[in-house]
């Protein structure tokens, strides 16, 4: 099918809008303090998981990746990893709380 001039214009307009919108919503680069805040949240959640004796190795690995990225000055990646670590830690806490009673469903009777 031939693409008409009108379609081309519309396509160009859409591309232009997307570029403009992307540029507008692009966030400023993360900073050391952004990382410090994200890391603090992750460490607090991981400490709570530790109190429940239910930490995940993936949380520890993600925390290590966050610290490594921060040490290299890549704070965007560091913040992303720290937030992921916090989410993993919170999932492990939820698992421990759920299993506190749910384990009985698996018992052989």
């Amino acid at each position: 099918m031939m693409v008409g001039t009108r379609d081309m214009r519309l396509f160009a307009a859409v591309i232009g809008f997307v570029c403009f919108a992307t540029a507008t919503v692009t966030q400023a680069a993360s900073t050391q303090s952004d990382f410090d805040a994200a890391l603090a949240g992750a460490l607090a959640a991981e400490k709570d998981a530790g109190a429940l004796k239910n930490q995940w190795t993936t949380t520890e690995q993600t925390l290590a990746a966050a610290k490594k990225a921060a040490a290299a000055g890549d704070f965007d990646a560091a913040v992303k990893q720290a937030k992921l670590a916090e989410a993993l830690a919170k999932a492990s806490i939820a698992q421990a709380k759920e299993q506190d009673t749910a384990w009985k469903a698996g018992v052989i009777h």
């Binding site: 239910n54 995940w56 190795t57 299993q99 384990w103």
Partner: protein
Amino acid sequence: MLRVIAVLIAALFLAGARPAAAADAINPDADFKAFRDYFTKKFPNVPLNDFVNGPYSMDAGLRKQWEAIEDFPPYDFAVDRGKDMFATPFKNGKTYGDCFPNKGIGIRQDYPYFDLKTGEVITLELALNRCRETNGEASYSYVKDEMASLTAYMAFTSRGKPFDIKIPNDPRARAAYENGAKYFYSRRGQLNFSCASCHVQSAGEHIRTEVLAPALGILAAMPIYRSEWGGMGTISRRFVTCNSQVRGVPLDPQDENYRDVEYYLSYMANGLPISGPGARP
């Protein structure tokens, strides 16, 4: 009429509550029977005492390999080393034998036990390190060769003796037993697996090239030489590795939870013969 309805509703609530309460009650004897029935029904062709041989009781090919391996058992070095260590006096002149009933010979089947004085489960590994500490020696790592050698020798002197684990009529002992059951059936790690996921629900199934051992009698062959490890491993090492494999951060070896789950599993194995030390793929 309203009174009759109220009484009926109350009766229904009571009737519903009773089975739930009964199900929640700790009943090691009933657990033992249910546990054994589950495995003997699931694997009707496996002789009861053969469950202690783990994957070899469920896979003919593996069993042939194992029988060949047993001609020159890879754990023999550990037994010999453990025997020497066991007989070698500490600096104060005492030996391991002085810390145990019957001088430590032929007693593996009685471990772990619940110590009414300290109110905790005492595993053989813990008892060995406490023996060392009492006699002024540094404790050994629970996951390395020295502990594996000592327990290999002690298991060897108990071969064929049936597990004889007791749960004293003490609320602390029953709580430890229940905590062990809870640990065994609780899902953990990012993979959301419990011990039971592999060793109850999936016992006898393949996970990649390995055959998952049944939970019934699973500790009877410990410690084991694992080809995967290229060396000996203690019960502590096995628990730590299991946790890591489901992406859970392992507990400290001999953590209360590990000792309690050993207590629970060993009680479930009562009457089955000690077969350790063993060899596994």
